[in-house]
């Protein structure tokens, strides 16, 4: 325990000395998030400095091995590190699909060369990744994907594979540098006919088209592949065994969604509206039914926070049921949708404004609409329930 206390003191001192004051302010909008990558422009010097300092210590990916750009922290140390970050409200220095999704999959399935190369790039924020999973005909039924890759013998340019097809709901495909992509390489074998490929979005034959959503924003794209060349050393795992990698990665995606964003930022929604809605003489929110709904919601949020802590403690030490991230994803995303319903109710007519300055460009309304995707992306709530029924409750025929 004393070692952990010493570590805590060390982290606290380091954060105090290295986290710029601007990086301790709450994240206001998308610009405040550092995604890294070739096209990323830092919003200010503090954001750049914070990333560089963390990269130096391995703190962008604290629990990854030092050889791959991490700080090599144990689960206990990682928890302490996160607590100390939260204590000073430090923003994450870097966020990316590389950290949350591809990284863990590479750690498990990548070759040593791939780990050193790709994980290092992710840890340093040099390459921004996007995920090529869903297709127009393969949503919840992901394994039906049709994007096809075949091997080409090329005596001049070297042997490689050629990929054709399209992906949909590719988050930030227009801003990403590389894609990790599921490609069918055997049409006769559903599960063991998919290969997990990595390639540069600037490769010849890749194009993207943003999709306008109900929020008025376009965080997702359609992505098209027209004879895209992919060398075999850019496969993760063996040919036709990509589904194993894909499933493992989905577990981490669900872990990320549930551990990070779900339930919103975990603060009391009632407290948020105490000022704007006003309190009555008894110090109660002056709208009794809304107060009751907000209080019931807050109770669930605080409960889910405890669940998040327990889940991470168990997940990091191998105690969690391997399918429990599906439960976390389900509960957390349903909670977040509920939060935004209450935020809209609390905001009333003001929250309806779509582009005024006062509404910060309709931030509340757009966020509310955005959250509707929480229970669709990364596996729908219904799929999560199917998985729980089958893998955890062991119900028949599920």
């Amino acid at each position: 325990m004393s070692n952990l206390d010493a570590f805590r003191a060390e982290v606290r001192a380091w954060l105090e000395a290295n986290c710029p004051p601007e990086m301790r302010e709450p994240v206001r909008d998308e610009d405040d998030i550092c995604w890294g990558g070739r096209k990323f422009e830092f919003k200010n010097a503090a954001q750049k400095q914070w990333l560089e300092r963390c990269v130096e210590k391995g703190y962008t990916v604290p629990d990854w091995p030092t050889a791959y750009g991490g700080a090599g922290l144990t689960p206990e140390q990682t928890k302490v590190f996160k607590q100390e970050m939260a204590r000073i409200k430090a923003r994450p220095p870097l966020q990316s699909f590389g950290i949350w999704m591809l990284g863990p999959a590479l750690l498990k399935f990548g070759t040593e060369e791939q780990k050193v190369h790709y994980l290092g790039q992710i840890a340093r924020g040099e390459i921004r990744w996007c995920q090529g999973y869903s297709e127009p005909g393969a949503g919840s039924d992901l394994v039906s994907l049709q994007t096809f890759g075949e091997e080409v013998t090329d005596p001049v340019g070297g042997d490689h594979w050629v990929v054709n097809g399209s992906k949909i709901w590719t988050s930030y495909a227009d801003k990403a540098d590389w894609i990790f992509c599921l490609v069918r390489t055997d049409k006769t074998n559903k599960y063991q006919g998919i290969t997990f490929m990595l390639f540069d979005m600037e490769s010849e034959g890749v194009s993207t088209k943003p999709i306008l959503l109900i929020s008025g924003n376009s965080p997702f794209c359609e992505t098209f592949f027209d004879d895209v060349k992919v060398p075999k050393d850019q496969f993760v795992g063996e040919v036709n065994r990509g589904w194993d990698v894909a499933k493992y990665l989905l577990g981490h995606e669900r872990e990320m969604i549930s551990g990070g964003g779900a339930g919103g930022d975990m603060i009391s929604v009632g407290a948020l509206f105490a000022k704007s809605l006003g309190l009555n003489a008894n110090g109660e929110l002056d709208d009794p039914i809304l107060r009751a709904e907000m209080a019931a919601f807050d109770t669930d949020v605080f409960a889910y926070r405890a669940m998040g802590e327990r889940f991470m403690d168990m997940w990091k030490t191998g105690r969690a049921h391997p399918a429990s991230s599906n439960m976390m994803k389900y509960v957390g995303t349903e909670l977040n949708k509920r939060r935004h319903e209450l935020v809209m109710a609390g905001g009333g007519a003001d929250a309806l404004e779509w582009d005024s300055d006062e509404s910060k460009g309709g931030a509340r309304a757009r966020s509310w609409l955005r959250t509707k995707a929480n229970s669709i992306e990364g596996g729908t709530s219904e799929v999560m329930l199917n998985v729980i029924a089958k893998r955890i409750l062991d119900l028949p025929g599920a």
Partner: protein
């Protein structure tokens, strides 16, 4: 501290779970119920609990107990809940011990060793009406000679009719004071009522009950903090017991889904039921984590415990309630029969849900603690 049981706690569970399941399964409750047992629990079973040191789990070692925490007591309570075991453990070994240990002094010295030794049953005389309103205690204690005279009516006093001592919360000139009122105190009458879950809870009348000054638990007028400790421990304990009740009901129901056939299929194959069972699983897991967090914060003496205790009582209340309602519904017709156990789970859950503040009370507390 990680939010899962450590090795010692896992070992405790490994010894307590089979013990309760063998000695006091649901059939034990049925036997007491069907014989119209007047005590409300089995003294033989309590003697067995005592052999294992369980009544004194939370009693500090200097008073002859095991000096354990709420996480450990919660392990026992979950098994009590899972087996619907009638037991004075919650009121005596959790609520009363929390108050006495917090207060220290004469009454702690007198009662804690007796509780640890399995010799004393203690009742908690806090509530005064149909709903839990500990901020509106009307029972009075007025100075009289060398002591106090108590007047008032208490209700929902579990084990009140057999308790060797009752902890009575009363209003004094400058605040709340807790009193240790012994069994034979003149003017105190306990009128036991059989509740829906077959437990016995008394309406207690205090009609000019004379107690000595040293019957005060802690200091005069300073019972608020001690009452808070009693309530926090009992609420968290009730929440842990509800996790056991909910888990027991859920396990029984999931098993039934794998056995019962209709339309030529196991009913567990129907997605309509699968999704509801999976949703229930999530709610129960969240409730369990929440209760463990409250136990951990109480054991650490953390400021945050107050909020988490209310969250735990409310969340466990919601989750266990869902478990028993889904349990009866998914069992179909047999779920309505006395012969099947699932209905007994619904009854016990209802009583625990009400005890020391229901879901609505605690959700309201969550709002207040967050400034609205």
């Amino acid at each position: 501290m990680p939010l899962y049981h450590n090795d010692d706690q896992a070992m405790l569970k490994d010894s307590v779970a089979p013990f309760v399941a063998e000695q006091a399964p649901v059939s034990h409750l049925r036997k007491l119920r069907d014989s119209s047992d007047a005590t409300g629990f089995s003294r033989d079973l309590w003697a067995q609990f005592t052999e294992m040191g369980l009544p004194g789990m939370l009693v500090p070692e200097e008073h002859g107990g095991l000096g354990m925490g709420h996480l450990e007591a919660g392990i026992v309570l979950e098994e009590i809940g899972r087996n619907l075991t009638p037991s004075p453990f919650l009121s005596t070994s959790v609520g009363a011990v929390a108050a006495l240990a917090k207060a220290g002094g004469t009454q702690a010295g007198r009662w804690l060793p007796a509780i640890a030794g399995g010799e004393a049953i203690v009742a908690l005389a806090i509530d005064e009406g149909a709903k839990h309103r500990p901020d509106r205690i009307a029972t009075t204690a007025t100075r009289s000679g060398n002591g106090f005279r108590l007047n008032g009516k208490k209700s929902f006093v579990l084990h009140g009719h057999v308790a060797d001592m009752s902890i009575v919360a009363a209003k004094t000139d400058g605040g709340i004071t807790l009193f240790a009122v012994p069994k034979d105190a003149k003017g105190m009458t306990a009128d036991p009522r059989r509740l829906v879950d077959s437990s016995l809870a008394s309406h207690v009348t205090l009609d000019g009950v004379e107690v000595d000054a040293d019957a005060v638990i802690g200091e005069v007028d300073a019972g608020g903090d001690i009452l808070d400790a009693l309530l926090a421990a009992t609420r968290t304990g009730a929440a842990a017991e509800m996790v056991g009740v909910g888990q027991g009901a859920m396990d029984m129901t999931v098993t039934y889904l794998k056995e019962r056939k209709q339309f030529g299929k196991l009913i567990g194959e129907f997605q309509g039921l699968q999704h509801r069972a999976a949703h229930l699983y999530g709610e129960m897991e969240v409730a369990r984590a929440t209760v463990m967090k409250a136990q951990q914060l109480l054991d650490e003496g953390s400021e945050g415990a107050r909020l988490m205790v209310s969250v735990a009582k409310a969340k466990a209340g919601r989750a266990a309630n869902l478990a028993v309602r889904e349990g009866v519904q998914m069992h179909g017709g047999i779920g309505m029969t006395d012969e099947y156990d699932i209905g007994l789970y619904m009854k016990r859950d209802r009583a625990l849900a009400e005890y020391m503040g229901d879901v609505h009370y605690h959700i309201d507390q969550v709002a207040r603690m967050n400034g609205y």
